[in-house]
């Protein structure tokens, strides 16, 4: 149990929440009560586990452990409970956090609508999870490599991915970095160290672990890997693979779970029965773990700072669980009121919303200006709408690019297939939307 104690100790150092630590230690000693009555040093000599013997049969129940507490810096009214936890971010940084969250939120609203109007084929919003994106991204360095799931556009916003880049990707036009090959919201940027998103859930998790291992092997490595995934994705086999490989192979990776309560329509109580995703970290895989309020940008920020420092210093992983609520529908192909109430959504969209919380903090600080906010949103709306008009008029890439990047060089059989299509299109020009594609 010492590794659990150690990781809890670390967590305590991060959070400096003695009170919570007491709760956990209390819980551990409850579970260990029966052990303590045994003579000391009576340990089993099995290679598979180091543990004391007991002579009383005892089923260990999940209830024997108190849940891992939720680290929070700011309450819902935007007040900092423990001043020692205030990250003391400058006004400039806090304003960037706020603006980036607003930008993401505003862009989401318009792109969601534009999908409803049939202008783009698909979209996924980030409503309610803005703080976990921005707070975590702000605590990282640009050289840190990001693997995401698909609902982490805020990380890209923080890193400087531009509105035109987002929208060009959604349209798959000539300026899309991904060359129009993937569905909307499957962003990627080499420049911003953000590995291209793919649809299969959790596949990025063991990949992030492998990348972290390879980075660790570089001399004087000072970069880590962050892998985002939802609590639903954490049920996949690849999540298990990633947790276990990260622990056994000592990889500087932060396994960042966005636990927003739903995987499409499946509520988290149908997803798992343990203590969330965080509960799997310390006892399950031997990984230092932290759980934070994902609607509190400062909590996410502080915890990520500490996690980054830890993974780089120790060459070990961290399991990071950010609790939030998926305020929007799963995607534009989903109507979430079919499986949850509008009243429930409304609470998370107002008092518990990450943007509202940060706004209240800024009000207390005297940093909030309502006119400025209105102007900013108006300006972003204008930019996004203008960009949609521009992006949808841009040509799609040359259709011949369909055959490129399958391999590093186009193999002979693909050259032949491209030529076959060329001949066919040449003979049936009117049957294809050629005018929309670059020549």
């Amino acid at each position: 149990m010492s590794f659990l104690r150690k990781s809890m100790h670390w967590m305590g150092a991060v959070a400096r929440q003695r009170q919570h630590l007491k709760v956990i230690r209390g819980a551990i000693s409850t579970a260990a009560r029966d052990y303590s009555s045994e003579p000391p040093n009576d340990f089993g000599n099995f290679p598979g586990a180091k543990a004391p013997f007991v002579s009383k049969l005892n089923l260990i129940h999940p209830e024997d452990y108190a849940p891992i507490p939720i680290y929070r810096v700011m309450d819902q009214d935007g007040f900092i409970a423990d001043e020692s936890q205030d990250p003391q971010l400058s006004r400039e940084v806090v304003e960037k956090m706020f603006r980036d969250m607003l930008l993401l939120n505003t862009m989401d609203k318009i792109l969601y609508e534009s999908q409803r109007q049939g202008r783009i084929s698909f979209y996924m919003t980030n409503f309610g999870e803005e703080a976990s994106h921005i707070g975590s991204a702000a605590a990282l360095e640009m050289r840190d490599l990001i693997y995401g799931q698909y609902r982490e556009a805020g990380v890209l916003v923080w890193r400087g991915f531009r509105i035109d880049q987002f929208i060009d990707q959604c349209y798959g036009n000539v300026d899309d970095l991904g060359r129009g090959k993937q569905m909307p919201v499957h962003y990627g940027s080499r420049e911003l160290n953000f590995v291209t998103i793919s649809s299969p859930l959790s596949t990025q998790m063991p990949q992030a672990v492998g990348a972290a291992y390879a980075m660790k092997m570089k001399p004087d490595n000072d970069a880590c890997v962050v892998c985002y995934f939802g609590e639903g994705a954490a049920s996949e086999g690849d999540a298990h693979a990633a947790f276990n490989f990260a622990a056994t192979l000592g990889c500087p990776v932060i396994l960042f779970c966005r636990n927003n309560g739903f995987a499409i329509s499946t509520p988290s109580n149908e997803q798992y029965r343990g203590d969330g995703i965080a509960g799997r970290g310390p006892m399950g895989y031997g990984i230092a773990t932290i759980r934070v309020d994902g609607t509190d940008v400062f909590a996410v920020y502080n915890a990520m700072k500490a996690a980054r420092e830890y993974v780089l210093k120790e060459n070990k992983p961290v399991v990071f669980e950010a609790l939030a609520y998926r305020v929007g529908h799963h995607s534009t192909s989903d109507d979430s009121t079919a499986y949850r109430s509008a009243e429930e959504i409304e609470v998370w969209n107002s008092v518990e919303h990450p943007i509202s919380k940060l706004k209240r903090y800024m009000v207390h600080k005297g940093w909030f200006d309502e006119t400025e906010e209105t102007e900013f949103i108006k300006d972003i709306r204008k930019q996004v709408l203008k960009q949609i008009a521009v992006s949808e008029k841009k040509l799609k890439p040359n259709w011949r690019e369909m055959f490129e990047d399958v391999y590093d060089e186009i193999p002979e059989h693909l050259v032949e297939q491209r030529e076959e299509l060329e001949r066919h299109i040449g003979a049936h020009k009117d049957c294809y939307p050629l005018k929309n594609f670059e020549k």
């Binding site: 970095l177 080499r190 492998g210 390879a214």
Partner: protein
């Protein structure tokens, strides 16, 4: 799914069989490739030598998989951990999807990943990572990211007593996936050349190594670094009457059959080792098919949707006017790979020889 112990005891059974029964029990006679002078090596030694060269040549190269650390259940990585350190040659937890995903991540960074899947039969848990991820990485990112510097080594094929889960030849599953390279060596020289070529190639590669050849196949293997061209078939025997196409162990069956056809029936067979399953050497196959007008394709994997189907349909499409008989496939049956019935399952020399008679009489 399996434990190292099982694999280990299985290995010792395999080894004792190799010693005591290799001649009486195996369904093929090994035909070595002569290529200059080198050191006498079996396929295990040649693969070990190739990985040794790859690890010393490229400081970023990592070698990992289940039980790779102590030398591997087939001894292919023996001594490499001592030589290159446990940070570069290491055991992974027992999880194929993890091994494949981890390898992709290593390759994303540009480092070289040599990943071992202990048996081809156990590659399926990593199917998603290989098919949906590795194969599509470059394409879906518009070339921003790739995992070209990864290679999977995967022991495959019949071994006399491997039954359902130590005998499979799953190459056709992977041949259906654009973005991958899939190769199968027929012996030590080829195994070393292909492995080094795959490690260097800028695309994700799978090397299916016929494990029955690990110790049975011995050749004079050049000690220096060399690569064998990917996507290129080898014509091992020239002939004018029938083209025989195979890969891996089956090549040796076909070479023996060609000899018998010549001796007993005066039929001149051309024997081609396809080597690369994807992308494959259309030119070599079409040229030979047009010359002989008769083609037999033989593989251990089941008939339906086996890679032979792809060859046969392309040959009929591209060589239609030259064909004197329908393209014939001699393959494993459409059943799981059985234990005690293995001698009746394999496309052995007797079935291949019958096919030659049939195709010539057509």
């Amino acid at each position: 799914m399996k434990v190292a112990q099982v694999a280990h005891s299985w290995l010792s059974i395999l080894r004792s069989n190799m010693r005591s029964h290799s001649i009486t029990r195996s369904h093929f006679t090994y035909y070595p490739t002569s290529l200059g002078t080198g050191k006498k090596m079996n396929m295990v030694n040649a693969i070990n030598n190739a990985m040794d060269l790859a690890l010393s040549d490229d400081k970023s190269a990592l070698l990992f998989g289940e039980d790779v650390g102590f030398g591997g259940v087939f001894r292919c990585s023996v001594n490499l951990r001592d030589k290159y350190g446990k940070e570069r040659v290491f055991n992974s937890p027992l999880c194929e999807q993890g091994i494949a995903g981890f390898a992709i991540g290593v390759a994303n960074i540009g480092a070289t990943a040599i990943a071992e899947i202990q048996f081809a039969d156990y590659i399926f848990p990593s199917f998603d990572q290989i098919i949906n991820e590795a194969a599509k990485y470059r394409y879906r990112s518009g070339g921003l990211f790739d995992c070209g510097s990864l290679t999977f080594r995967v022991p495959c094929g019949a071994v006399g007593h491997g039954a359902l889960y130590h005998s499979q030849s799953p190459e056709a599953y992977f041949a259906h996936t654009p973005g991958l390279r899939v190769v199968v060596p027929r012996g030590p020289i080829k195994a070393k050349g292909l492995l080094l070529a795959c490690i260097r190639d800028r695309n994700p590669c799978i090397v299916f190594e016929p494990k029955t050849l690990y110790r049975a196949a011995v050749e004079e293997v050049p000690m220096e670094y060399y690569t064998s061209e990917l996507g290129k078939a080898d014509i091992l025997r020239h002939g004018k009457d029938v083209t025989l196409v195979g890969w891996g162990t089956q090549v040796h069956v076909l070479l023996e059959v060609a000899e018998q056809a010549k001796m007993n029936l005066n039929i001149d067979c051309e024997v081609i080792d396809l080597v690369s399953i994807l992308p494959w050497d259309t030119n070599a196959i079409f040229t030979s098919a047009k010359k002989t007008g008769r083609v037999i394709i033989a593989h251990e994997a089941p008939l339906t949707q086996g890679f032979g189907s792809e060859l046969a349909s392309q040959i009929q499409e591209k060589c239609f006017l030259h064909l004197e008989a329908p393209v014939k496939r001699v393959t494993g049956w459409d059943t799981p790979f059985p234990h005690v019935f293995e001698p009746f399952y394999l496309p052995d020399k007797h079935r291949c020889l019958s096919a030659i008679k049939e195709i010539v009489m057509y």
